[in-house]
């Protein structure tokens, strides 16, 4: 206990607090720029941490990561472009809120939700890391496959009135995810002998194009401002945001726990966490018809989940040496450079470093709250006031620079441009970008899980049992079925009740 208190005090040193502050600030700015991911933010700052002591180095990297995941919501809310892939689901309601004149409220809710998610993730990391890490090992290819399918069932919730077009959009996204070298077998497929497609479609550049370019093209013809200005007095709308958060306290907790749990699973990451959390929030919400039209509950679900993956992702990273998310992989590298051995003995043999880091992560999340609220307010006011004449070229400039910097490749910029045009045409034909992106993000995970599970099942001469009889798989399938059929049963049941009443 005394040792824990000493670790706590150590995390609160002036150096660590300053590093956490600067890390969060840098993370928010980098995360808010479309194309610059949390992974890149962490990777860029790794060399600067070599001269620091291990716990301070970890604190600054954790702070950057936390800030970047939150920063991704800004561009999602203000320009309909997720700053990081984990903010995909934030665009669904965040941008709609901004268009309805509630952009400032959306920015405040997003910050508070990220704070709640971040804190829950850190608490789980501090209290339950070793037992939760063992759960991640129980997830095999079958479970990943069903988890991706659980994410894909969200398509029905994104349908916006045209289910067939949404499903076709998702299939198109899945098709895009299959282009290039196949995940199992290594065959070159669906490239049409075009050499630059061999490495596949870069998800982030396609995502920037699909979400952002249609907005820019429509904005060109729009008269007046691109976002409706809030009627609310000049404030952070803190009371309103807090009241919404309080009303949705259970949803916040649910989103945070979903995010933490999915964060634990290596390779899953914030994008799946926010998508699954959004889907679950919509399925269980009383206001499900408002989702996609600017419903704060949708924003809360997405933002709590993606920030909770920060703490969750560190669980397998620290306990097993298996990174939960890509930024965790970079941080794992930094840990090794600092001479820290990950594994089950880390919490006992080098507990001073680990707990100082965990307290530092909590500190960074706490710093993020006031910083994010104040900066978010100014970012919103700034974007609202920027004339369209500058805003359009500026967004185009950011899309170009963002997609270029993913791999320092002009090819990604062409991909972004090409998918932007396709997205615009499809959008005008009634095919929304969200299902396409969902298919693109989840396609690789679904296919890899499916084929690997098939191979394992085939080798064991129990294909069906491998897919359906594993306990975790069965639980996920049960959730999928509930998600798909509960609304139908519920509607019929209530309709019958109403008829009896009449």
């Amino acid at each position: 206990m005394t040792s824990l208190f000493a670790d706590f005090l150590s995390s609160l040193s002036l150096l660590n607090v300053s590093l956490a502050f600067m890390g969060v600030l840098a993370g928010i700015i980098i995360g808010a720029l479309p194309g610059l991911s949390a992974t890149m933010a962490v990777a860029v700052l790794v060399p600067f941490t070599f001269s620091l002591n291990p716990s301070s180095a970890l604190i600054v990297l954790g702070a950057v990561y936390t800030g970047a995941i939150f920063g991704g919501s800004w561009s999602a809310i203000l320009i309909n472009t997720p700053g990081t892939p984990s903010a995909v689901a934030t665009t669904f309601d965040g941008y709609a809120m901004a268009k309805n004149g509630n952009g400032d409220l959306a920015m405040s809710i997003s910050c508070m939700s990220s704070f709640v998610g971040g804190i829950v993730g850190v608490i789980c990391l501090a209290l339950f890391a070793p037992p939760l890490a063992s759960i991640s090992l129980a997830f095999g290819p079958t479970e990943y496959f069903w988890l991706a399918i659980l994410g894909l069932t969200l398509i029905s919730t994104l349908a916006e009135g045209d289910n067939i077009k949404s499903l076709i959009g998702a299939c198109f996204g899945l098709f895009l995810s299959m282009i290039g070298i196949s995940v199992v077998g290594g065959d070159m497929r669906l490239t049409g002998n075009i050499s630059f497609l061999n490495s596949g479609i870069e998800i982030v550049s396609a995502m920037i194009g699909l979400f952002c370019i249609p907005v820019i093209l429509d904005l060109t013809s729009l008269k007046g401002k691109h976002l409706t200005e809030s009627d609310a007095p000049k404030s952070l709308r803190l009371v309103e945001a807090f009241s919404i958060m309080f009303k949705n306290k259970f949803e916040s907790l649910k989103g945070s726990l979903i995010g933490t749990f999915i964060g634990i699973l290596p390779g899953a990451g914030g994008s799946i966490a926010s998508i699954v959390s959004y889907g679950e929030a919509k399925r269980t919400s009383k206001k499900k018809d408002n989702f996609g039209k600017g419903e704060p509950e949708g924003l809360i679900a997405s933002e709590t989940a993606n920030n909770a993956t920060v703490g969750g992702g560190f669980i397998p990273t620290l306990c097993l040496g298996i990174p939960g998310t890509p930024p965790d992989a970079v941080i794992l590298g930094a840990l090794l450079i600092q001479g820290i051995k990950t594994g089950d003995t880390l919490f006992t043999q080098q507990s001073d470093i680990v707990y100082t880091f965990i307290f530092g992560l909590a500190l960074a999340t706490i710093i993020m709250l006031p910083l994010g609220l104040v900066m978010g307010r100014y970012a919103y006011k700034f974007i609202i006031r920027v004339p369209k004449e500058i805003l359009i070229p500026s967004i185009i400039f950011l899309t170009i620079i963002g997609s270029y910097s993913i791999q320092n490749s002009i090819l990604n910029v062409y991909f972004m441009f090409f998918f932007g045009l396709i997205g615009w045409v499809l959008n005008r034909a009634g095919f929304k970008a969200s299902p396409i992106v969902l298919g693109l993000v989840l396609g690789g995970i679904a296919e890899q899980g499916f084929v690997q599970a098939y191979i394992i099942g085939n080798a064991q001469d129990a294909i069906l049992a491998n897919f359906f009889a594993r306990p975790i798989s069965a639980a996920i399938i049960f959730m999928i079925l509930i998600g798909l059929f509960y609304p139908i049963f519920k509607d019929k049941f209530f309709k019958k009740k109403e008829l009896i009443h009449d």
């Binding site: 060109t220 004449e389 070229p393 170009i400 270029y404 296919e447 098939y454």
Partner: protein, 149 residues
């Protein structure tokens, strides 16, 4: 009689895409082909549904009216910006393309003073980001093929 031309056209395009997926999958190994064939089959089924629906009724799409000329110009400048990025360098290409887009998007009643202000602000923004990316984020932006030694 076709009642929803957009859905009809879309279904034809996605039929063609399914055919391409099938054709390409036929030469792949089993493991590489199983997922594309599954998705191709679902796509065929959904395209049939969309095709049938397009003959029965139309689902209206609420599209905002667009200025075709402005969009055409924007696409041309956008493409030019990308095309010349590596050839003539980041700074020159971005300054020309950015300011051209400012002029395209300026309202007809915008004064010369306003236009100059917008262009100056854009130039400042580009230069700041260029140095920020190059020096702080260590992202090497293209200097331009024509300017290399």
């Amino acid at each position: 009689m076709i009642k929803d031309k957009i859905s009809f056209l879309s279904s034809i395009i996605f039929f063609a895409l399914s055919a391409f997926i099938y054709l390409d999958s036929s030469r792949l190994s089993d493991f590489a082909a199983v997922f594309p064939i599954t998705i191709g089959t679902i796509l065929v089924f959904l395209s049939i549904l969309l095709l049938v629906r397009s003959f029965k009724f139309e689902i209206k799409i609420n599209n905002e009216s667009v200025s075709k000329l402005k969009i055409f110009l924007l696409i041309i400048v956008f493409f030019g910006w990308i095309y010349f990025l590596e050839r003539s360098g980041f700074i020159i290409t971005s300054l020309i393309a950015f300011n051209t887009l400012v002029l395209i998007n300026c309202e007809s009643n915008a004064s010369l003073k306003q236009k100059i202000f917008f262009m100056m602000a854009g130039t400042f923004f580009i230069v700041c980001l260029y140095f920020g990316f190059k020096n702080l984020l260590q992202v090497p932006l293209p200097d331009g093929l024509w300017f290399r030694d």
